[in-house]
């Protein structure tokens, strides 16, 4: 086997692993949203990364009374993280970044401050309401 095909196989494995994390995350968020009675639309986007190539990733649009949340995968290879997914509120455009680090999803604000909350249903529901500025 050539070095090039070894590399290709390595990046293919990384991409598959990343998409597995994304599927789990999106599936959790969709279930938590549905528990709240919020509407969930599933979509796909095309992501291109230098090492992983072009691939399709899942996107969620969640309708919350008073606004909405978009779950938007950005990519695996990020500075200081092993994957990033943005949670973006509409119409406020408030955003937090979910970054994967040491096997866990961590929440980081736009000011780069980590929130240090466990990533779970309760956190997501509160975060979603805060992102759209609900009192």
């Amino acid at each position: 086997m050539t070095l090039q095909s070894d590399d290709t196989q390595h990046w293919q494995q990384q991409r598959d692993q990343w998409l597995g994390w994304l599927d789990q995350l999106v599936s959790d968020i969709a279930a938590w949203s549905e528990h709240q009675g919020w509407g969930v639309n599933r979509d796909q986007k095309t992501v291109t990364e230098p090492l992983l190539g072009t691939y399709s990733a899942p996107v969620l649009h969640i309708q919350i009374p008073g606004g909405g949340i978009q779950v938007n995968p950005i990519g695996l290879h990020m500075i200081g993280a092993e994957g990033r997914v943005d949670l973006e509120g509409w119409p406020t455009l408030n955003r937090v970044k979910l970054v994967r680090w040491q096997g866990q999803w961590q929440i980081v604000t736009d000011s780069n401050v980590p929130l240090r909350l466990p990533w779970c249903e309760q956190t997501f529901v509160q975060l979603a309401q805060d992102l759209i500025g609900m009192p």
């Binding site: 500075i79 119409p91 406020t92 455009l93 408030n94 955003r95 736009d110 000011s111 780069n112 500025g133």
Partner: protein, 150 residues
């Protein structure tokens, strides 16, 4: 123009702001460890120039954010409402607000951002009374009252 294009333009400014904030902060941290670093790459640029840049970054990007907002409203006025005049921003915001039935709270918030922008331009105010992200949210919420397409 679409409302989504207006949102995308605000998002671009936000993302550039975050990228620049990171980049300038990173170079400043590196130059803490190696004070000669800055001079190695750009003649005549000092560390204090970078510190000034970092201090003014939020205000600089705030002005760009407001320019995107103003451009969106003027585009809507011209193409969405077929208005030929270009009134001052206060009148333009009020006129669109009445026409689109924008909530008083959202009008108030967007005007607070406009007043801050005027203070920075005309009164040379340096400090942002609202954060960049607060301003972005208030302006985006105002834009959310515009139609999806005009």
């Amino acid at each position: 123009m679409t409302r989504q294009e207006a949102f995308s333009a605000l998002i671009s400014v936000r993302d550039e702001f975050e990228a620049t904030k990171f980049a300038v902060g990173h170079v400043l941290r590196l130059s803490d460890r190696d004070p000669s670093l800055v001079g190695q790459y750009v003649t005549g640029l000092s560390r204090s120039d970078l510190q000034t840049c970092q201090r003014n970054l939020e205000a600089t990007y705030f002005l760009r954010l407001f320019a995107v907002f103003e451009g969106t409203l003027r585009n809507y006025s011209k193409f969405g409402r077929k208005r030929l005049k270009e009134p001052p921003m206060e009148r333009l915001m009020d006129s669109i607000g009445r026409y689109r039935h924008i909530s008083p709270q959202h009008m108030h918030n967007a005007h607070a951002v406009r007043i801050l922008r005027n203070d920075m331009i005309h009164e040379h105010q340096q400090e942002l009374r609202l954060t960049f992200h607060d301003c972005k949210s208030h302006l985006a919420t105002y834009i959310s009252w515009l139609p999806p397409l005009w």
